[in-house]
Each structure stands twice: as structure tokens, then as C-alpha cells.
């Protein structure tokens, strides 16, 4: 019996543990370690219409039980990935969630249209700045976020997830996205933070501020997934600091149907598979399945 099997927006996943965007590139770096098809899915690095060089270095630094990153959305642009990485990734038999972004709705849509043939799901990163909206992230402006979502939905026949930011209220944005026709949610993206260099008396990161990820943010992720689950019937891909099978089950209880693993993969390249195996063992001990746990914290006592 496969305790871990889960259907999500019409796609069947052999296990619910997927890689998080930006922490696994397009999978090639890890493909000699294990078949990528063994993963629940791969979420790709964020893809934009044109190449982006990214932020000045240092781009990462460790913090207590976490890390800050300011990669600056470096990527080679959608055409390079459609020519090379995405067809290769599909050939590996992997399920693919393509993370897309842009600086206005039409740009998101153009990327989504080009990657659709290779995407099982599309994840829209709303944390990037809205160039025509005072550079406020789309994720913090319900109307701008909804405009992106409508443009993407018009451009693709694949199910679309909106990736929410923990740096502002999520419920008003989620409501606007639902009205715009979003199929599901993923959360959380990183929390903004900073670390100082005492010698230089300046921020460590080249970009000054960065996104906090790793175990330090897990309680925030559990809370936000829980809060969102109470306010939506759409499926949730949860993430934030997941390092063990117990962590994944916490997010499942809160309401995550799929769980992404990001930062943990840097310390352990086998982390997504190890976590899936740990979940399997924990469920086997209890004679339960993954689906028994999804949202189970919300059932009346």
C-alpha cells in the first residue's frame, strides 16, 4: 500500500514531498544521486521572460537555525530553459512545478505560456516587485496579485498555484486570488531579514536585506498554512523550514496537501527523499495514510 500517494489538482504524486523553488535549480545537479522521478516533484528555480544576472555577492549568509538569501532572482530567462532544462527534466520522468515571475502581469503570462508544455503545475511567485505599482511586491497588493493571476490563467491550461509571501497579510490577497480563479496556494516564501558584519559595520549581504528560510521560520509556516486552510477550500502546498518527517507532518496537520523542502537540501542533498521515507515510517507505525493527516488539526475534537 502506498501511504504517501496524493492527488493534487488532478496530478498524481507518488509522495507529497517536493523540492522548493530556488533550492534545487532544475534538478541536474542532483540527478546523479537518485532518479529525479523518485521525488514527489521538482519545483524549478524562478523563471522570468529575460535573463537576470542577480544580486551582488555575498548572496547568502547563515543565521541562527536559518539562512538569509538575496540571489536576486538570477536565471537564464524562459527561452534558455525551454530549449534545454525543461525538456530534459520531463525526460527524467519527474513531475515538474515551474515557478514563474515577471515585473508585470503580461510578463508572468508570457513565461507561463512558454513553460506550460513541460509543467504539471505552475507556481506564480508573487513576492517580486511590481515595477508599475511602486515596486510593492504583488503579494502585498490584492488587486495587482489578482491581475497577475488572471493573466496567467488566460495563458495556460495547467493548474496555477499562487505563492504567497509571509511579509504582509495573506488572507485579503488569497481572497482576491480565489476570485481571480487561482487553483491552489503555496506558502510560505521567505521572511525578510538582515545580518550585520561587525568589522565592516554594514549588512553582510550585497543586497543588504534577504529572505530568511530554514528551521527558524517553520512555526511561521505552520501558522500561516493553518490560517489559510481555515479560509479556503483550495489545496495548499506548504513549506518553510521542513527538515524532518515530523516537520512535514506538522504542515500536513495545519493543512498542507503537498510539502516543499528547500534549505534542508543544502545540508543534505538527499533530504526530500529522506523526509518522505521518515513520513512513511511514522505513518506506518500509526497505520495511517498521508491523506488522513492533511488538515486533520482542523477537525472537531
Amino acid at each position: 500500500m502506498n501511504r504517501l500517494e496524493v492527488e493534487f489538482l488532478g496530478v498524481n504524486f507518488p509522495n507529497p514531498i517536493v523540492t522548493a523553488s530556488g533550492t534545487f535549480n532544475f534538478g541536474r545537479e542532483y540527478a546523479h544521486l537518485y532518479p529525479l522521478a523518485k521525488l514527489g516533484a521538482i519545483t524549478t528555480k524562478g523563471v522570468s521572460p529575460r535573463p537576470i544576472a542577480g544580486a551582488p555577492t555575498p548572496r547568502i549568509t547563515e543565521t541562527p537555525m536559518g539562512m538569509l538569501n538575496a540571489i536576486g532572482l538570477e536565471n537564464k530567462g524562459v527561452d534558455a530553459y525551454v530549449a534545454d532544462e525543461l525538456p530534459w527534466l520531463k525526460e527524467q520522468g519527474a513531475r515538474v512545478i515551474v515557478n514563474v515571475f515577471g515585473d508585470e502581469p503580461a510578463h508572468f503570462a508570457a513565461v507561463a505560456a512558454k513553460v506550460s508544455p513541460y509543467a504539471d503545475l505552475i507556481e506564480v511567485n508573487l513576492s517580486c516587485p511590481n515595477v508599475h505599482g511602486g515596486n510593492l511586491p504583488f503579494a502585498h497588493d490584492p488587486q495587482a496579485a489578482a491581475a497577475v493571476l488572471r493573466a496567467v490563467k488566460d495563458a495556460t491550461d495547467r493548474p496555477v498555484l499562487a505563492k504567497l509571501s509571509p511579509n504582509g497579510p495573506i488572507l485579503p490577497v488569497a481572497a482576491a486570488l480565489e476570485e481571480a480563479g487561482v487553483d491552489g496556494f503555496s506558502l510560505i516564501n521567505t521572511l525578510l531579514g538582515m545580518r550585520m558584519n561587525l568589522d565592516r559595520k554594514r549588512p553582510v549581504l550585497g543586497n543588504r536585506q534577504g529572505g530568511l528560510s530554514g528551521p527558524a521560520i517553520k512555526p511561521v509556516a505552520v501558522r500561516l498554512v493553518y490560517e489559510l486552510f481555515r479560509n479556503t477550500d483550495l489545496p495548499i502546498l506548504g513549506m518553510g523550514g521542513v527538515t524532518t518527517g515530523e516537520d512535514a507532518l506538522e504542515l500536513a496537520l495545519a493543512g498542507a496537501r503537498l510539502v516543499a523542502v528547500g534549505t534542508a537540501t543544502f545540508a543534505d542533498p538527499y533530504a526530500p527523499l529522506r523526509i518522505a521515507a521518515e513520513v512513511d515510517r511514522l505513518l506506518a507505525e500509526r497505520g495511517e495514510t498521508w491523506l488522513d493527516w492533511v488538515g486533520a488539526a482542523h477537525t472537531p475534537n
Binding site: 530556488g22 533550492t23 534545487f24 535549480n25 532544475f26 541536474r28 545537479e29 542532483y30 540527478a31 546523479h32 544521486l33 528555480k45 544576472a53 542577480g54 555577492t57 555575498p58 548572496r59 547568502i60 549568509t61 547563515e62 537555525m65 536559518g66 539562512m67 538569501n69 540571489i71 538570477e74 537564464k76 534545454d84 532544462e85 530554514g214 528551521p215 534549505t263 537540501t265 543544502f266 545540508a267 543534505d268 542533498p269 538527499y270
Partner: protein, 263 residues
Amino acid sequence: MTPQSLEVNAERPRWDDHELLLSENRPLGPHHLLRFGAPTLAGRFRPGQFLNLSVPGHVLRRPLAVLRQEGDDLELVVTPFGPGTRDLVNLPPGTRLRALAPLGNGFPAPEGDVALVSGGAGVAALLMTAAAALERGWRVHVFHGAPGDEDVELVKASYGELGLEVEYYSEDGSYGRAGLPTAGLERLLADGAAVSVYSVGPYGLMRAASLLALEYDRPAYVSLDVHMACGVGACLSCAVLTKSGQKHACVDGPVFAAEEVVW
């Protein structure tokens, strides 16, 4: 090469996650020499390659050059810098760690006499190149720089073990010659020595050594120290601007030809 072109580069090492057992932890002035049993990595490192080492209680691994490999053993030099390296140098023998390895491209094999220009733990990345050059019968000139006399033990435990004479430069004049090691390199190059220059240390040192080598039209290589998370090409944190575009130090480097780097 970009991280995406992994499979077309047969030279690229097939790294994996290996277990290391700390067998010795010996201070060398402010530095520490860490010796590990690492049977699954025996003979796997080329000069200039590195590993990404776990540190108990830390979320990320730490990239470190491999000083020496002898049979099942390998040695690292660690300079306590921030929280991770401070914890690392306090670990007792018997501690089990994990390392992603072998990583990075490494230095090209010397094809003639070499000049090594090092600072601090930069020695670690250069020692295997020194040994390879000696094995091939090339001359090895060593210029090492430090603020004072703190690197004397490190130099003895590394270059000294190979029987190499080191021109030691201290900025405060407390040991060896007063000044910077690039003074020695400049003298050698001005004498017309047909050496390749290999430099690892603080950015300013590598830059100065590289510009000197280029001025005298000699090949030069450096190992760039960029903050890393994954160490394997996946996170894109280790960007380096080169004359042929943006590269990533963990897979396209850490070794770069001096003329490739935008200094």
C-alpha cells in the same frame, strides 16, 4: 561552463555525501589542522578541490579546501572566522561529520616551475599543487604573507613538510621579511623566471599577485572565496563575474585563470 552544463563536462567530479571521522584537531597558531578518516574519499581530490563540511548545530555546511590526502586520511586547515568555523575548531576527536565531496574544478597541473603566493589558510588550497610540481621535478617558489608571525607554524606544518623553503612576509616585520609576499613575487618575475603563478588568500593578495603575473605575461590562477550554500551549483549564491560572463565558483571554480576574472 555553467551549472547547467554538468553532464557535458566529463572532468566534473561525481560528488556525493561522505562520512568523515575526526581523528585529530591540532592548533597551529590561530589556525587548526583537522585530520579525518575518510575511506570513501581516498585519492578522490585533485589539487585545489574542496569539500562542503557539516558543522553540528548549523543549518549550512562550510566550504573548505583539502590540504592533504594520505591513504584513508585527509587534512584541512580551518581558521576560526564566524560561528560555524569557531564551532568546527572546537570539535573533539571522534566526532563524525559529513562532507559533500569532491567539489570544484581544481588547479591545472603545473607544466613548469611555479610560484605560490599564499595568505592564511590559503596554504591549504595550494599544498597539493606544490607536491605535484615537486613530483614532476619543477621548482617551487613559495611566498607567504601574514599580518605578523601567526602563520609560522602553519607554514612549517604544510610547505615545511614538503621540504620547501618559504619566503615569509609579515606586515609588521615581526618574522621573515617585512612587507607583502607580492614583493617576492615581483622580484622573481623581474628576474625573468618562467613560472606559473598560483595564489590563494585574501582577495587583495590574489588580485595583486594576478595583476603582477599578467604584467609579466605569466599564467596565473586563483581560488576565489565566495559565500556558498549548496556547493554544487544549485542555489546560485556563489556568482563570480568573469570576462566570459557570470559563473558560479562552486562548479565553474573555485579556480579561475587570473585573466578571466574581472578584478
